[in-house]
């Protein structure tokens, strides 16, 4: 992460001996196939080591590929729309049965024009709903994870380092936020804020609702990161390298940003990678109580919610978005695991 290796030791969350051991053992023990590196002892930063470990991890590679493909599909949604010529809100009701409004044909109406079939009821193209729905869901999940993590890290570092009244106050705020029921707040706040900004006849842009959901997630989910970071900082702030920095006359800013922060990146990155899938599923849950993304904005969470009841009548309709979110969440979790292993090899072995 950081290349200013003035003091190589402090970069590792462990003690100096371990860091040195890792530096020496790693290239030879774990990379017997590369003779060049085995001979020469190459100095590498912990960041480079983590990257190497990550690259060698097959699970990480696989999950990264899944995530990249998903991201590309989501980003290229308008392109896919152009290619297929089908908009996500187009309704092909003539291709539904009159009785029960199920898609005509095999496997939920899969055909050349509709590669993943049609939704029962409204007759919309599942592929386009899925592609645009992914977009909404990933945007919400990523934005919320980034914002909540940023808040969490800042609050946690300040709280952990500050001691005294500031730390107590920050801890109280964290406890207060944790005690606040998320769902009830979301149920109460989202419609009220909408009414504050829009008149009864105004068209509320989809981006506003999406922004509200991101904000709600961010407001309630920084606490875990903040607690984690605060704990880490408390355990680090008495270390010798911090003492040394302080003795050398480093200011608080330098100690926080240059000495402490680089040492807590590992758990923070893992939190982000675990938060994203949690937000995807939570966003789906919001759709269950009607404060999620509203029609006609496509949304993966709502799609899953609507499709569950069709499990037996039109299994493909349940299967496709279900498998999509399953793969997505699995890939994020596996990637998060691998990332944790790579950043902190001791924890898994």
């Amino acid at each position: 992460m950081s290349n200013t290796t003035a003091e190589p030791g402090p970069r590792s969350p462990g003690n100096e001996e371990t860091a040195a051991a890792v530096l020496q053992v790693d290239p030879s023990a774990e990379q017997p196939g590369s003779p060049v590196e085995a001979k020469a002892i190459v100095g590498r930063s912990p960041g480079q080591l983590a990257w190497l470990r990550l690259k060698r991890d097959r699970t990480a590679r696989f999950s990264a590929i899944v995530l990249i493909i998903t991201a590309i599909v989501a980003l290229c949604a308008p392109l896919i729309e152009k290619i297929t010529g089908t908009s996500p809100t187009d309704q092909f009701t003539s291709q539904l049965t009159d009785f029960a409004a199920l898609p005509i044909g095999y496997l939920g109406g899969i055909s050349g024009a509709h590669p993943l079939g049609l939704e029962p009821g409204l007759g919309r193209d599942i592929l386009m709903q899925l592609v645009y729905g992914l977009r909404t869901s990933l945007l919400i999940a990523f934005a919320a994870a980034l914002i909540s993590t940023t808040i969490g890290v800042l609050v946690g570092v300040v709280g952990g380092y500050a001691r005294g009244w500031l730390d107590s106050m920050i801890s109280w705020i964290i406890d207060l936020t944790l005690a606040f029921p998320f769902l009830i707040f979301a149920l109460a706040a989202i419609p009220v804020v909408e009414n504050r900004f829009f008149n009864a006849r105004d068209n509320i842009p989809a981006s506003f609702r999406v922004g509200m959901i991101i904000a709600t997630f961010a407001i309630f989910n920084w606490t875990n990161t903040a607690r984690l970071v605060r704990g880490q900082v408390i355990s680090l702030r008495e270390r010798e390298f911090v003492e040394a920095a302080r003795a050398s006359g480093a200011g608080t800013g330098h100690i926080l940003l240059r000495q402490l922060l680089p040492n807590i990146w590992a758990p923070v990155l893992v939190t982000v990678s675990l938060n994203v899938p949690a937000f995807i599923t939570a966003e789906a849950a919001l759709a269950f109580v009607n404060i999620g993304v509203t029609e006609p904005t496509p949304d993966l969470g709502r799609m899953i919610f609507n499709s569950i009841q069709y499990l037996s009548a039109d299994p493909m309709y349940t299967f496709i978005p279900g498998v999509t979110i399953f793969l997505l969440v699995l890939a994020f979790n596996l990637f998060g695991d691998s990332l944790r292993d790579a950043l902190d090899p001791k924890s898994s072995r």
Partner: protein, 586 residues
């Protein structure tokens, strides 16, 4: 009455994934394609002595005994006859209490109003529909063996004036006081020192009750079928607590009632079949189960396990479950047909003043898509009229001859160069209504309208759109007749003089002098068949000349019964299967 939100509830489905994914779905429409056979109501009020004779005609193959079960997802809001207004409560009350008149149905759609407590559907004393006299049958007893008297009927009407018991129908109360919605401004029922007899009601002797109205109300035999006229002995009246245990004058009495869980009825041994022209009362007990969600009810009825075979469901089959009801053994147990409800897209005429725009909306909305969004043909059939086919005098017509899928070209032709107005479409925020709103939005936008959709909390939906100054242009609403006569449809929905600041039922806020006067004129026509024909003509005139609504679809009932339930059929009066003549097959 009856506004309808649509009880398409949402529950979590826990069924095994059946291997139906690889079969081809085809659109045979064998089950319900084309025009369904609709039994148009003659709406007969029968004074024929043979019709009014007790006991009730025997049920073919009817068997005495057994326990008949009813699955009802949310239970009853009220069972107190003064407060029961929802169809399920009125149908359950038919087992518990008797009313002055009642419906005899034969299961083929024929419906007759005959005397129940009374010996006939009421005597129009002066032939001006203002004074109605009912003579009670002799020998009718309550569950404790005391005789039912006309004073108890009068007391039942009196207590229905109480502001504490205001949830029920208010036809008779309003007719008696002639004060419209302020019917209980002066007389507030027998409580707190009020008179035991409401204004306009007299009981010359224990067997006779006379209602005197200021204006003619020829619908009195129909209105008397409502539970307003159920007898309540003053000694048994527990005010609001009466809801928990109405005192039985019918064939069954309450054995146990646990709110939100179950209601068990057992026989009232003092009920005598020879005094009752309507009820055969064959099962020994009735058990109402309130614990299951809508989808669970129908999963159980589809599976037809032995314990559920004598149950019927007061719950339409959910769209996602419809495909499972097509196998022959399940299909045979489906009760399907039109209900008294019609769903309209009300056009707020205060905002959309241009007739051409309202006509254009009638062409623009894709009724087929709106129906398919909630399951297609089982949910209903596209509508063109204001009156439901189950209502007396219904005349099929189509003022616009628009295809059910809409006609965007015709919209452009009608609108010409005037730009279509921006529309705000409001909907109750439940998944089926949201899907319907999306279907309607798409078809309106395809026709050139700019549409903003607004979701409203479902429990507040009718309150919101019922405010006169509501900010919306177009919204879906269902309306069902209180009795199969257009007099309970057109006046509440299209009489402009009934518009109030809040709580409106005239959701188009349609106020047209010529229609108002015609409503008054029809109300005074003495002959029922003349009235029915005049209502049908007015129905057509409103749609052709003013188009204040888009008739969307005639509501369809699609419920299931267990394989051991006999003589279950959709009641023309209540929409769902009635209970008074069902039996349990051995």
């Amino acid at each position: 009455m009856r506004l309808k939100i649509g009880a398409l509830g949402v529950g979590v489905l826990t069924v095994a994934l059946v291997a139906s994914g690889c079969s081809k779905t085809t659109d045979d429409s064998d089950s319900s394609g084309g025009d369904k056979a609709v039994n148009v109501q003659a709406g007969a009020i029968s004074y024929d002595a043979a019709d009014n004779k007790a006991p009730a005609p025997a049920v073919d193959g009817g068997q005495k005994g057994g326990n008949l079960g009813v699955f009802l997802p949310d239970g009853f809001e009220h069972l107190d006859p003064a407060r029961a207004y929802v169809n399920v409560a009125q149908m359950a009350d038919q087992l518990l209490v008797r009313t002055l008149t009642g419906y005899r149905e034969d299961g083929k759609g024929n419906l007759k109003v005959i005397g129940d407590l009374a010996t006939d559907p009421g005597t129009d004393v002066n032939k001006d529909c203002k004074v109605w006299q009912f003579k009670l049958r002799p020998g009718i007893k309550y569950e404790d063996g005391t005789p039912v008297t006309s004073k108890d009927v009068a007391y039942g009407v009196a207590r229905s004036f109480s502001p504490d018991l205001s949830e029920g129908p208010h036809y008779i109360q309003q007719w008696l006081t002639d004060k419209g919605a302020d019917y209980n401004a002066d007389y507030k029922g027998p409580y707190n020192g009020g008179a035991a007899l409401p204004p306009g009601v007299t009981t010359p002797d224990d067997q006779t009750i006379v209602f005197t109205f200021a204006k003619p109300h020829c619908d009195m035999p129909y209105a008397a079928t409502l539970t307003t006229t159920a007898p309540v002995p003053a000694a048994q009246d527990k005010k609001t607590d009466y809801d928990r245990r109405p005192f039985s004058s019918g064939p069954y009495k309450i054995k146990s009632y646990q709110l939100g869980n179950s209601l068990v009825l057992e026989r009232n041994t003092n009920w005598d079949a020879n005094t009752d022209p309507l009820r055969t009362a064959l099962p020994d007990t009735f058990t109402f189960n309130f614990t299951l969600q809508a989808d669970a009810v129908n999963e159980r009825l589809i599976a037809d396990a032995p314990a559920d075979q004598s149950f019927l469901g007061w719950q339409d089959v959910q769209p996602a479950q419809l495909a499972k009801t097509t196998t022959p053994d399940v299909k045979a147990r489906v009760l399907e047909g039109p209900t008294q409800y019609v769903w309209y897209y009300y056009i707020n005429t205060q905002r959309i003043k241009d007739l051409n725009v309202r006509k254009a909306l009638n062409y623009a909305i894709d009724k087929d898509a709106v129906l398919k969004a909630i399951g297609g043909t089982p949910a209903g059939t596209p509508a063109t009229t204001l009156l439901s086919p189950t209502v007396a005098g219904y005349q099929k017509y189509d003022a616009f001859n628009a295809p059910a899928t809409g006609d965007a070209a015709k919209v452009k032709e009608l609108l010409g160069s005037t730009p279509p107005p921006a529309l705000v479409l409001a909907y109750a925020n439940t998944p089926p209504r949201a899907a319907q709103a999306e279907a309607a939005r798409k078809s309106l936008e395809a026709a050139g309208f700019q549409v903003t959709t607004k979701s409203i909390d479902p429990t507040n939906y009718y309150t919101e759109v019922g405010r006169k100054d509501n900010p919306y242009d177009i919204y879906l609403g269902g309306w069902g007749s209180d009795w199969p006569d257009p007099g309970t449809v057109i006046p509440p929905l299209f009489d402009g003089r009934q518009i109030t600041p809040t709580g409106n039922q005239n959701l188009s806020y349609f106020n047209e002098q010529s229609v108002n006067t015609e409503i008054d004129r029809i109300g005074t026509l003495p002959s029922a068949s003349d009235r029915a024909a005049a209502w049908a003509a007015l129905d057509k005139k409103i749609m052709t000349d003013f188009a204040p609504v888009v008739p969307a679809y005639y509501d369809g009932a699609y419920t299931l019964v267990g394989s051991k339930v006999g003589n279950a059929f959709d009641s023309s009066a209540f929409g769902w299967p009635g209970l008074i003549n069902v039996y349990v097959k051995p």
